[in-house]
Amino acid sequence: MSPGKKGYMNPYLAGAFLGVVLFASFILFGHGLGASGAVAKLVGVVVDTLSPWHAASNAYLVNLVKSKVSPLDTWLIWEILGVLAGGFLSGLLAGRVRPQTHRGPRISARARWGFALLGGAIAGFGVRLSRGCTSSQALSGGAVLSAGSWAFMFAVFAGAYLVAWFVRRLWT
């Protein structure tokens, strides 16, 4: 599979752009970017809405919801809304916005959906365990040389490469 560019930006250029955005975030807010935290907050809010008792009895979820006027009024949520908008804009400009399922040539869309769910669940668990995702730990923590973040980053690549061979049918 040759990596057809199709209007995709040179990865080094995209990386440099991303790096500048990351730096801007540090200058403006004193911290880097994040993503999984937004999902985590949503989970907390959903559970809290469905069963406040359950949320209150779970020490971990309590932290996510806290007694604030609106637990969703946190920088992570505002930022993720921006990510949605920015991603949409870029996709729109490049004509890449349409209902689609990205998958390898040997697998059906439905199967892909199943694996997306499974992969997401595994990733969701892992992300909470490591207290961060590629955006918050790897990119942001990496840029400020946090030792734990670098360890996390290498572990992510290791975990992915180790499992990749077993799921190659998904992608190749």
């Binding site: 930006m9 505002w78 990205h102 499974l118 990733a123 992915a160 990749a164």
Partner: protein, 201 residues
């Protein structure tokens, strides 16, 4: 002097506006790089297209150099920035698990959101999966709470603290490492492209 304190100077509303704008730039960059497409992301782990590595490390390099340059010039104070505390073993094990989920599901949280933004159904499903996984974590964490809280809890430790060198030495080492990895990535891509001969296997 940076970092700024926007909520104090501009108020909560405008600080949130800036968060949205920053997020937009973030999402835009990710989509430009093709990261709204799980197949492009996964290609990294089959040595076809090493763009995940290239984008991530270029981003880290750029931000890192800008941060430390600003600090050296007295424009910013690096120690005032949020530095992720190190919980070593939860981080490593969580990273391995997350990496597995990444290559199975095809996304990480940020890129999944970008996929959602371009109507990637697999992206939406991945995010739902994320929620489930996080919920399961919340339900089960009490069983290994001690591990999660205290294992390898070294607090805020930077690479330079760990190595016992000055920050600028760690920065230099990271730059060298990244450049070597870029070179390696290019060579790996070329090797596999030549092997494939341009056709799908």
């Amino acid at each position: 002097m940076f970092p700024l304190d926007l909520s104090a100077s501009l108020g909560h509303f405008w600080q949130n506006v800036f968060y949205v704008i920053t997020g937009m730039a973030f999402g835009f960059a990710l989509e430009r790089a093709g990261f709204g497409n799980a197949r492009k992301l996964a290609a990294q782990f089959y040595f076809r297209d090493m763009r995940v590595l290239k984008v991530m490390f270029t981003a880290i390099l750029t931000a890192m150099l800008l941060i430390f340059l600003s600090t050296a010039l007295g424009l910013m104070e690096y120690r005032e920035l949020f530095i992720n505390p190190t919980h070593l073993w939860p981080g490593v094990i969580g990273g391995l698990i997350f990496g597995a989920g990444f290559v199975i599901g095809g996304y990480c949280p940020g890129t999944a959101v970008v996929s959602m933004a371009t109507l990637g159904i697999d992206g939406i499903i991945f995010v739902v999966g994320l929620g489930i996984g996080m919920f399961v974590f919340g339900e089960t964490v009490e069983f290994f709470r001690v591990f999660w809280d205290t294992s390898g809890d070294y607090g805020v430790v930077t690479l330079q603290d760990w190595l016992g060198v000055g920050a600028e030495v760690a920065v230099f080492a990271v730059v060298i490492m990244a450049l070597v990895m870029f070179w390696g990535a290019e060579k790996t891509e070329a090797y596999f492209a030549a092997r494939e001969g341009g056709g799908d296997e």
